[in-house]
């Protein structure tokens, strides 16, 4: 049901590089788990609405009032790599 190519494709979608043995392992695990999940085909879901929010909360807002931002130094403290106040990453090719 889930091939090694599927696994490699999903790994790329997830931006995770898998070693070859990981691909094999995951293919087996996912096959087993997805096999179990086939169970979900059994119940009748005609006219059933999906639950994306379990509480009947609606219309939660915030007023348009400014709150203090973090200072640049505090943000840079968190950064793995930075330069002149910006986060630094490997060059992005467009």
């Amino acid at each position: 049901m889930i091939s090694k190519d599927d696994v490699r494709y999903v790994a790329h979608l997830s931006r995770i590089h898998l070693q070859d043995n990981e691909v094999d392992h995951l293919a087996k695990d996912l096959e087993k788990i997805l096999g179990y999940i086939e169970k979900l085909k059994e119940p009748d879901i005609t006219n059933i609405k999906p639950t994306s929010h379990v509480l009947p909360l609606k219309n939660v807002f915030r007023e348009d009032i400014v709150r203090p931002s973090l200072k640049q130094e505090a943000v840079m403290k968190v950064a793995v790599s930075h330069h002149n106040g910006s986060f630094k990453v490997p060059q992005v090719i467009e």
Binding site: S14, E22, D29, L30, I48, T51, V54, L55
Partner: protein, 478 residues
């Protein structure tokens, strides 16, 4: 008894009577951690007393331990993962703010399954935590560190998080009290998300009274969390009454499954008898869709998780690495290598499963279908609560299993959540309390579930049972 062996409410009374103070309690805990944690490995880091800490002479001034996925300002918060090593949060979670406001100091961060993915606390980059009742066994998960610390008297009380049972199941395995509040009862702001529509922070404590006191502090509306309800927080300690006369409690017929350990079943049946003696009325009920709960959970929760964990990519904070040889572009290489080396195998498994179920062509068959079956499960519970005040089940089908026993079989691991998952899917509150021991000396947990925002009934039933027995007074000897 040493200070660290007391409950929070006992310590509160001592503080009030000026017979002790926070500093002495902290010292007692840190001393126990020094002596015992090399065996239990409940903690990933301990904290010094903050410089601006003020001793507040209130009921809440008892030091607390926090699961490693709740942000404390300027402290490292890693979710048990290599990918967040070195990340120091620049802000406090709302629950942390509330605790600080009531004068609580923090002892340390407790171990967990990486990103809360697990039921055994074996999936941590820091190595597994050991069950204080039997060091060869798991403490449960994912809040295993918090549960083990409380059970071992290395913590007075602790916070954990529960997405599919991660507070209740370890509480059950460690013989303590673990509560998952109603979804939206406690703010999630500052809880590093696993599954946003299922996660809740909750207390792990030595008894039901402590659990109620802690919930009083952390519950309540938060303007930083759109999913946090504006429902008034009652004083939960007022529900600590030994009285269940006339309460109707349902026993779902589906809970007596094949994999249920006979000793667990016996303990739960005896607990039912104890409550009957106290005046509770039991009736047989049915959760016809409970059998789909695990499958539903592992689609819905992993889908949300795959999205929540996309931010861990080495760009901003935490861990970053590059492959030795370039494969695609420098940026994509960085993403892929960082996430391969930074995430453990269970995390990768769940991210892959979640991504798959959301991907083009599979969304309807998996994620959408999962959300619809979730509605069926929620409807089942809503229907029962029209006739019953609560439901009673075991917390887990077994007692604590051995470290390494289920690690190779993820599906078997997932099935140990079978009793706890429905409460997360429906957003209802549930508590696990100790109800006995197996012959092997490992604790057994009893789970009570009620309708949304009815933690009061939960506490009432739990307290009544607790005060009718002695289980909560028993703790492992380390």
């Amino acid at each position: 008894m040493n200070l660290n062996e007391l409950t929070a409410h006992e310590l509160r009374d001592l503080i009030k009577a000026q017979k002790t103070n926070t500093t002495d309690i902290r010292d007692s805990l840190l001393d126990k951690i020094k002596r015992a944690d090399s065996k239990v490995k409940a903690y990933v880091r301990t904290f010094d007393t903050p410089k601006d800490f003020k001793e507040i002479d209130t009921a809440a001034g008892i030091p607390i331990s926090i699961k490693d996925n709740i942000c404390i300002k300027d402290q490292e918060t890693t979710c048990g993962s290599k990918i967040l090593k070195g990340f120091k949060s620049p802000y406090d979670a709302t629950v942390v703010k509330k605790l600080k406001q009531s004068g609580v100091s923090f002892i340390g961060a407790t171990n967990m399954d990486e990103f809360a993915f697990g039921s055994s606390t074996e999936n941590s980059c820091y190595g597994p935590t050991h069950n204080p009742w039997n060091l060869d066994c798991v403490p449960g998960g994912s809040s295993g560190g918090s549960a083990a610390a409380v059970a071992a008297h290395e913590a007075i009380w602790a916070l954990g998080s529960d997405t599919g049972g991660s507070i209740r199941q370890p509480a059950s395995f460690c013989g303590i009290v673990g509560l998952k509040p109603t979804y939206g009862r406690v703010s999630r702001f500052g809880l590093i998300a696993f599954a946003s529509s299922l996660d809740q922070i909750g207390p792990l404590a030595k008894d039901v009274t402590d659990s109620a006191i802690l919930l009083n502090i952390i519950a309540g509306h938060d303007e930083n969390d759109s999913t946090c309800a504006e429902v008034k927080v009652p004083d939960y300690t007022k529900s600590l009454v030994k009285d269940v006369k006339g309460l109707k409690i349902g026993i779902p017929k589906e809970c007596f499954i094949d994999g249920l350990d006979p000793e667990v079943k016996t303990a739960v049946m005896e607990a039912i008898e104890t409550l009957k003696e106290q005046g509770a009325i039991f009736k047989k009920v049915s959760l016809p869709h409970a059998q789909y709960a695990v499958a539903t959970y592992y689609i819905v929760a992993t889908a949300e998780a795959s999205s929540n964990l996309a931010r861990f990519d080495g760009v901003q904070y935490g861990f970053r690495t590059h492959p030795e040889q370039s494969r695609r572009t420098p940026l994509i290489d960085m993403y892929e290598e960082t996430r391969d080396k930074g995430f453990g195998s269970e995390a990768k498994r769940r991210i892959m499963l979640g991504t798959y179920s959301l991907s083009s062509g599979y969304y309807d068959a998996y994620y959408l279908r999962g959300q619809k079956v979730r509605t069926l499960i929620k409807n089942d519970l809503d229907k029962i609560f029209e006739e019953c005040h609560a439901i009673i089940t075991p917390t887990s089908p077994t007692t604590a299993f051995k470290i390494g026993e289920k690690v190779e079989d993820p599906l078997a691991m997932y099935l140990s959540d079978i009793y706890t998952i429905p409460a997360n899917l429906a957003g209802v509150p549930a508590i696990s309390i100790p109800c006995g021991f197996a012959k092997n000396g490992l604790p057994i947990g009893l789970q009570i579930t009620t309708k949304p925002f009815d933690e009061e009934t939960l506490f009432r039933i739990a307290y009544t049972y607790e005060q009718s027995t002695d289980w909560h007074k028993q703790k492992p000897k380390l």
